[in-house]
């Protein structure tokens, strides 16, 4: 397991997991909180930086890869999960993290999200959800309220039922599902630790305010309430979600399910030729 990876010389602090690049994020962006919580979690788990890979998509949030001092891959828009899955399956010795925004993960990347939930490869997925496309200057994302008229692209609002990440994850079979708030770095760090240690696909929806295009999200602080009770009973989980107002935080669902990990033997490639030989 990743948590047993070799530990470098001395004990590292959260700051040691940050790179020296200055984030392009707007001052006050929720994503700073996620970066803090993530590096705290890596330090708490004493993971050797070189044993960790952080894969990201495209968006403000997806820039996070370069701000950590681990191996990083800033891929193309929407494909963070297959990229991370390939790495996790091919290199089970690594701790593989995937991160990105609500647009990246639920709009263009929505299909990979469902199938990653089903597949259950051993990786942790952090979705930095600000209910907007920050990077392209403020259009509605799947999680945007259906009557939000803040974008010129949907002047009358998106008029679509908002995408519900936890509901979809549960319906798709994800074994570890949680919600957190970016500006509660300690709570978030704890959840990330648990997600990383979980042997399978663990996803955390992180409410991460976009101060520039959704300034009203500064009010999230007052709305979040840590009321999820972890369960592995489907009926209970659905009940909790029916009652959810979108701001309940904590671990919702944790089920035992063997992680996807194809087994491999150590045969000689040359032997594969035999079946073609004509005796």
């Amino acid at each position: 397991m990743s948590a047993n990876a070799p530990i470098t010389m001395s004990v590292l602090s959260a700051r040691d997991y940050k790179s020296d690049y200055k984030p392009v994020w707007c001052p006050g962006c929720g994503d700073f909180g996620v970066l803090n919580a993530l590096t705290k979690a890596l330090a708490a788990l004493k993971l050797a930086p070189e044993q960790v890979a952080l894969i990201a998509g495209i968006g403000c949030s997806s820039r996070i890869a370069a701000y950590t001092r681990v191996y990083g891959f800033h891929g193309v828009h929407g494909r963070v999960l297959p990229l991370a899955t390939g790495l996790a399956v091919a290199r089970p010795d690594l701790t593989v993290l995937a991160a990105g925004g609500d647009g990246d993960g639920f709009s263009i990347g929505g299909n990979h999200f469902i199938h990653a939930c089903r597949r259950n490869a051993n990786l942790t997925y952090l979705v930095m959800d600000n209910a907007v496309y920050g990077m392209t200057k403020g259009q509605a994302s799947p999680t945007t309220e259906c009557d939000w008229t803040g974008s010129e692209l949907t002047p009358e609002g998106p008029h679509q039922a908002p995408f519900k990440p936890l509901e979809i994850a549960l319906a798709a079979g994800a074994p570890f599902i949680a919600r957190a708030f970016a500006n509660d770095p300690n709570g978030l760090a704890r959840l990330i630790c648990e997600a990383i240690e979980f042997p399978g696909f663990a996803m955390i929806q992180i409410l991460s305010p976009c101060i520039t295009y959704r300034p009203e999200q500064m009010g999230y602080k007052k709305r979040v309430h840590e009321d999820f009770q972890p369960t592995d009973r489907l009926d209970q989980a659905w009940q909790a979600l029916v009652a959810d107002d979108g701001f309940t935080t904590g671990l919702l669902w944790r089920a035992e399910r063997p992680a996807y990990r194809p087994h491999a033997a150590d045969g000689d490639p040359a032997s594969l030729i035999n079946s073609f030989r004509v005796e």
Binding site: Y71, P82, G86, V89, N111, H112, H115, I273, F276
Partner: protein
């Protein structure tokens, strides 16, 4: 050199009649006998149970394409056989065997003036109801070719062994009954010689690609099925785990190519296979592979296009997308195997190129290579050809040297910088599809942007493709320039012309991009007339050559779409015309 002899036959029948199964059994028998052979299949539009034809050609020399015409056609029945008319080159010397009880001879056969010889399956079966016409037909063919009972039983064993001894037994008995009917063929039949020159394989182009991938070092594959590439994926699925690798079935091609990239970022050589529509979905991520310099190989098995096109038939019309389908300046190697064995060699070379140059590489195969099954001489598998001096091993960063910070995209003479793999202490870095500097940091500066574009271009220009950029055969003041599956019929057409004293050299380009311009121009020295041959509508290869090379002043192009592959006679005609044109 004795003139090669070959013999072509087709077995056709409606769903369940077992034409394909009989064809496969015959292929195995022929292989066993020491001959060379090639088998293609043709189907009607039905998923299953529709009409089908097995086209077999056997020869005392290596052979990789079907012949001009059929020597023998055996109809198990005639149901909806009209839809296969195009695939069956029946002429007036074709012997056609059919049971009048299974229906009237189709008009197109009558019209061709074929030599029809009626037979009766039920008579041949001597009242045995278990005896199936397809196995009787195998017996008829065995008699024609002189394949002995032992050979046929071994083939039946290979074909039906898994179903139990009784099935093998019934089949063998039927084959022997079939021998009673041996039609007269006034046609040279290749000599069956049980002493083969060496080890022989029975393999399809797709299997050869898959094997080449593993031999090249591929240990990860992510797959989304698509005709006619699926067999590559299926073969790998069953074999990779045995050699320490694995295959993941992906939700679509966007996922499969990204999974490959993820695995390769982790240091595990990765490959996927697809066809046109799937390749179209991969081009965005292939651009990412170019920009981040992560090796990956995609085998694109071409089929009829555009769009869904004709999934089960050959065409060479994905050259454009393969070379130019990525947005931005995103050069990458494209290799086209030009034969069934070459599917193995070219795919392995693609892995070598990808790993050595840290780049995505496309292999441009097609349905005509991929789904054709051939009996061939065993190729060299131990060493295998590589491009020039390339080692095929990824240049890895091992912690030393770099001075200060590790530079993932350090500039270098050959454009290749050592890669630090996850797990290497001190090599931590983030790769990105954004324009970046030597350390991989995003930048918008012209100088850095250009440096990396130059560096990536240099990788492609500074490796030495050695001899492997093309297969060059023959000599003369005329040249035929082609690639891929058009090579086999071209070779055969040129052999026919050579026998008539018309000399023409053949240049079959394997490395489609980057083109070896100097090499090609040299190969064309002394050539004043050229024919460019390709199986697509637009003449994509011709345009590509024109864009990069000086071609002989008198250059003509023979390009036409599929779904029928070239026949040697088309090439003979075109070259004859070229001879005349330039004489005029």
């Amino acid at each position: 050199m004795t003139r090669p002899t070959s013999f072509s036959l087709a077995l056709i029948g409606s769903g369940g009649a077992g034409a394909i199964s009989a064809g496969q059994l015959l292929l195995a028998a022929v292989a066993h006998s020491g001959l060379h052979a090639v088998m293609t299949r043709a189907f009607g539009p039905q998923i299953r149970g529709g009409e089908a034809a097995a086209l077999l050609r056997l020869s005392d020399h290596p052979v990789e394409c079907q012949a001009e015409r059929l020597d023998l056609l055996i109809a198990l029945d005639w149901e909806k056989s009209d839809r296969l008319a195009e695939d069956l080159a029946v002429d007036q010397s074709t012997v056609v065997l059919a049971d009048p009880e299974t229906g009237a001879i189709p008009a197109w056969i009558e019209k061709a003036g074929a030599r029809i010889q009626p037979l009766s399956w039920s008579e041949l079966a001597q009242g045995n109801r278990k005896t199936r016409p397809n196995m009787l037909a195998c017996g008829v063919v065995a008699a024609v070719l002189g394949l002995g009972p032992q050979t046929m039983t071994a083939a039946a064993q290979r074909q039906f062994g898994a179903k139990g001894a009784a099935v093998v037994q019934t089949a063998s008995a039927a084959i022997e009954l079939g021998r009673q009917f041996a039609p007269h063929m006034d046609r040279l039949i290749p000599q069956v010689e049980n002493e083969s020159g060496g080890e022989r394989w029975q393999i399809t182009g797709n299997q050869a690609s898959a094997l080449g991938a593993v031999l090249g070092g591929v240990r990860f594959c992510a797959a989304y099925p698509i005709t006619p590439a699926t067999e590559i994926l299926e073969w790998l699925a069953g074999r990779l785990p045995a050699v320490g690798g694995c295959l993941v079935q992906a939700e679509d091609e966007l996922a499969s190519i990204n999974m490959c990239l993820g695995a390769s970022f982790g240091g595990v050589p990765a490959l996927t296979a697809t066809s046109g529509p799937g390749l179209a979905l991969m081009v965005e991520t292939l651009g990412l592979a170019v920009a981040t310099e992560v090796p990956v190989v995609v085998v694109n098995v071409m089929r009829g296009g555009p769009s869904t096109g004709i999934p089960t038939r050959p065409e060479q019309s994905d050259l454009n997308i393969a070379i130019h389908g990525l947005h931005g300046d995103a050069p990458h190697p494209v290799i086209a195997p030009n034969g069934i064995v070459d599917c193995l060699i070219a795919t392995r070379q693609a892995v070598v190129l990808a790993e050595s140059l840290q780049t995505p590489v496309l292999v441009l195969s097609d349905q005509g290579l991929g789904q054709t099954e051939a009996v061939i001489e065993a190729p060299a598998t131990e060493e295998g050809k590589r491009f020039g001096e390339l080692k095929g091993k990824r240049r890895l960063w091992c912690g030393e040297g770099d001075g200060d910070a590790y530079q993932r995209y350090r500039d270098s003479a050959d454009g290749v910088a050592p890669m630090a793999l996850p797990g290497s202490l001190g090599g931590e870095h983030t790769v990105t599809g954004l324009s970046h500097d030597r350390q991989g940091r995003p930048t918008t500066r012209s100088e850095e942007h250009r440096r990396q574009l130059d560096k990536r271009q240099r990788k492609l220009e500074s490796f030495d493709p050695g001899e492997d950029w093309a297969t060059i055969e023959g000599d003369g003041a005329m040249a035929l320039i082609t690639f891929g599956s058009a090579t086999a019929p071209a070779r055969e057409g040129l052999a026919l012309l050579a026998a008539e004293g018309i000399a023409c050299r053949m240049i079959s380009v394997r490395l489609l991009s980057p083109l070896n311009v100097a090499g090609l121009e040299q190969a064309l020295s002394g050539v004043d007339r050229a024919l460019i041959l390709e199986l697509n509508h637009q003449g994509q290869f011709h345009r590509h050559l024109r864009a990069h090379c000086r071609l002989p002043a008198h250059t003509t192009a023979l390009h036409r779409p599929g779904p029928q592959p070239f026949r040697p006679a088309e090439i003979v005609d075109a070259i004859r015309k070229l001879t005349m044109e330039s004489a005029a």
